[in-house]
Symmetry: C2
Subunit: 116 residues, 2 copies
């Protein structure tokens, strides 16, 4: 009874997956830079902690958005990259990026106009 905000809408589960801090950025990097090892990925996301990065990667993997390739060498090598579902999302990301960029432009224009 704590968090009943059931939405019964499939989009919501995707948004909920992507929403936390870092998440979309992580996915964006994996999509644009291809498969990366944990340490390399962490270095690409400055400021993130290992804990949160692990957590996010687990969620994304569970959702089938990224793959995880674990090689039990010593030291272990774990590589992450976009899976099929991640590539599907990439399309939506592109659209959202375009929209976001345009909105930012519009906001800037409007502000400039107001300043007159």
């Amino acid at each position: 009874m704590t968090a009943p905000h059931a939405t019964s809408c499939p989009m919501d589960s995707i948004l909920r997956l992507l929403m936390g801090p870092w998440t979309s950025y992580i996915l964006w990097i994996l999509q644009s830079e291809g498969p990366l090892r944990f340490g390399a990925l962490k270095r690409k996301v400055p400021g993130i902690s290992a804990k949160v990065l692990t957590e996010r990667l687990r969620l994304l993997e569970e959702a089938g958005v990224i793959f995880r390739d674990y090689k039990p060498t010593i030291p272990p090598q774990v590589t992450y990259g976009p899976a099929d579902r991640g590539k599907e999302l990439a399309e939506v990301f592109k659209t959202l990026n375009a929209i976001g960029r345009r909105w930012a432009e519009e906001d800037k224009m409007e502000k400039a106009g107001k300043a007159a």
Copy 2:
């Protein structure tokens, strides 16, 4: 230095706007059911509190995703509905919904297969 997760990617601001509990559902309702008054909208989102609904509506309005029409009658009538930017997002929502639905289907199939 508390939350530095700067992403420098325009999509992120949109995701951050939509991500809280209820938010996408509210927008979805306004898109599919057209303009609604505060009370009517609240009844469509069972479980949400007036406080959070107000907060979400303010954010969406500030982003230009919905409009707010205030009529200072007694009692006041405040109507919310999708604005131009909201209609833009509707396209993305449709795509995300389709993807989400398909993923749910696939997951169900896979689970059924595993049960054998």
